[in-house]
């Protein structure tokens, strides 16, 4: 999407087409010759993995929609019909349900990678904010998808989450009634959630296009956090990164398949195999694992409105990260103090997730409050850190960070050994 295209079609038909719609050249410049920093590690393969997961969810989801019935009296039965009667229905449904979890596994790695290596810093702020928007759309999609089987967890999850909006003064109750299309979660709610669950992935795909577009303006950040300066700092996307991405994807799919084939319900809740009953709430209602840290923040605050605001705020604050982190150095590898607080933040997020699954009383509530305080405190610490931290010395170039000073010198000397571009 940037002007790197050197693509010249080999055939006359190709040239005729390219002069009318230069899409092959666009793909060529974006995913074939695009110069990536040569030091990208495996954490940079999660973008590709996420693209795969989005496609996988759309393919399995559209297939499931051919067999599913979005009606309060028939939805639960139609999911069982998919599991028992439809050829390979069990496989497609388990791929879709576990696919949602794997999608979030990948997105959390992707987000934490960006946070560690400072990928949100200038000139990549818009890229980062588009990522936060994708994350929000993913959460909305996953939530509505979880409602569709119309089990007990579906129903009560929908009730609790839609009721979050009732916390807003004056208009809250009206918003909730309009979300429900009735006076409680019922068939109209299920219908519109199905419609939106089908729509949102395509909106995600649209924002992903913008995300990649914004990425290809400055190019990828890298573990050294310094910009590419010369050709020696980069390698073409194909074959170097297509192969690296493909290897990571295959390993990731193995993990995905392990869940699908060996423990497909491990990440779900048994209560969701009981049909929705508006008269009884399950004893332990918890969201899916990927929402647990935010759920813990909601429950940590003893006030309803403040709890809801804190929960939404915990996601919204990410969008402001480019301006909350005042350090000029991008990569955490060169920020000794940052590293400590970053890893504490990561551990804190995991503990919040654990607390979100625990009952909301006693020590759990106190622990949730401490962890919530640090979650928000981290962003304040980042702000101060930029002024007080002394970063370690940055490498002079990406090539130097990979090859060391000598390798860099050799590369400058145009040595063939240090110039993979010439190998093939």
């Amino acid at each position: 999407m940037a002007g790197h295209s050197t693509y010249v079609p080999k055939t006359a038909v190709g040239r005729w087409f390219e002069s009318r719609l230069p899409i092959v050249g666009l793909i060529h410049s974006s995913f074939v010759v695009f110069p990536n920093p040569r030091n990208l590690n495996y954490l940079w393969t999660f973008g590709g993995i996420l693209a795969f997961m989005l496609v996988a969810q759309i393919v399995t989801g559209i297939t499931l929609a051919m067999h599913y019935t979005p009606h309060a009296t028939m939805a639960f039965g139609s999911v069982e019909h998919i599991m028992r009667d439809v050829n390979y229905g069990w496989l497609i449904r388990y791929l879709h349900a576990n696919g949602a979890s794997m999608f979030f596994v990948a997105v959390y790695v992707h987000i934490f990678r960006g946070m560690y290596y400072g990928s949100y810093k200038a000139p990549r702020e818009i890229l980062w904010i588009l990522g936060v928007i994708i994350f929000l759309l993913m959460m909305a999609t996953a939530f509505m998808g979880y409602v569709l089987p119309w089990g007990q967890m579906s129903y009560w999850g929908a009730t609790v989450i839609t009721n979050l909006f009732s916390a807003f003064p004056v208009v809250g109750e009206t918003i909730v009634t309009f979300l429900w299309g009735g006076y409680s979660v019922d068939n109209p709610t299920l219908n519109r959630f199905f419609s939106l669950h089908y729509l949102l992935p395509f909106m995600i795909a649209g924002v992903v296009v913008l995300h990649i577009w914004a990425l290809h303006v400055p190019g990828s950040n890298n573990p050294a956090g310094i910009e590419k300066k010369t050709d020696k700092d980069t390698l073409p996307f194909h074959p170097y990164f297509t192969v690296k991405d493909a290897l990571a994807l295959v390993v990731f799919i193995m993990l995905y398949c392990w869940f699908v084939f060996y423990t497909p319900n491990f990440l779900g809740h048994a209560d969701n195999y009981i049909e929705a009953n508006p008269a009884v709430t399950p004893a332990h209602i918890v969201p899916e694992w990927y929402f647990l840290p935010f759920y813990a923040i909601l429950r940590a605050i003893p006030d309803k409105l403040m709890g809801v605001l804190a929960m939404f705020g915990s996601i919204a604050v990410l969008a402001f990260l480019p301006w909350l982190d005042t350090s000029k150095v991008r990569s955490g590898s060169y920020r000794p103090m940052f590293r400590f607080f970053f890893w504490l933040f990561a551990v804190n997020a995991v503990i919040l997730g654990w607390l979100g699954a625990k009952p909301a009383d006693g020590l759990y509530v106190i622990a949730s409050r401490i962890c919530t305080a640090y979650y928000f405190g981290y962003f304040a610490i980042l702000f101060i850190l930029g002024f007080v931290e002394k970063p370690s010395k940055l490498p002079a170039s990406i090539a130097e960070s990979v090859l060391g000073r000598q390798g860099s010198a050799a590369a400058v000397g145009a040595s063939a050994a240090a110039e993979p571009n010439t190998k093939g």
Partner: protein, 174 residues
């Protein structure tokens, strides 16, 4: 420009008028798409009043029923439960409301409240919690025998549905 800066031209008028008509047009086109999200006619029609016969509800029992798709508790309170509800210092409550305001005069034994927690809508469990009213298992809200919030995150008391006694043993909800 310098000569007529303060004087609106015919072009300015057309610009504003066109913009205003456009804005009204967009708003009226959007309205049906917002309005369709509201409860539909069938859902509203399902809100016709329902009669509930109280004779089979024994003392201490909590009847669950639905009106307009919403869960309602009809609780037959014991003398002790009524006393507990009445003896509370109203000023000390989060959502101050006397028990007498929450039941019909002379019908202290019958408490009729919506059955969804005012926090996030779960169904509280009857005869549980520190006040033996209701306890919500989701986020730990505790209600007393008058359905008033006493502990936990819920901001308000369990609301009362509109109802009246049509006879000594029958109520009409709605």
């Amino acid at each position: 420009m310098a000569t007529t800066a303060a004087e609106p031209t015919r072009r300015d008028f057309l610009f504003i008028a066109t913009g205003a008509v456009g804005a009204v047009g967009i708003a009226s086109a959007v309205w049906p798409f917002v309005s369709q999200m509201a409860p539909d006619a069938a859902t509203v029609a399902a809100g016709a009043p329902v009669d509930v016969d109280l004779t089979p509800v024994a003392e201490g029992q909590i009847l669950k029923l639905f009106w307009r798709g919403k869960l309602i508790f009809v609780r037959h309170r014991s003398a002790q439960e009524i006393k507990d509800a009445q003896s509370v210092d109203v000023a000390s409550l989060r959502d101050p409301e006397a028990d007498a305001k929450r039941v019909k005069a002379g019908k202290d034994q019958w408490l009729v409240v919506y059955g969804n927690c005012t926090h996030l809508g779960c169904v509280p469990l009857g005869n549980e919690g520190a006040y033996k009213g209701w306890f919500c298992p989701c986020h730990g809200s505790v209600f007393d025998t008058s359905g008033r919030i006493r502990q936990g995150p819920a901001p308000t008391n369990l609301p009362l549905p509109p109802y009246e006694f049509v006879s000594d043993t029958k109520i009409r909800i709605g």
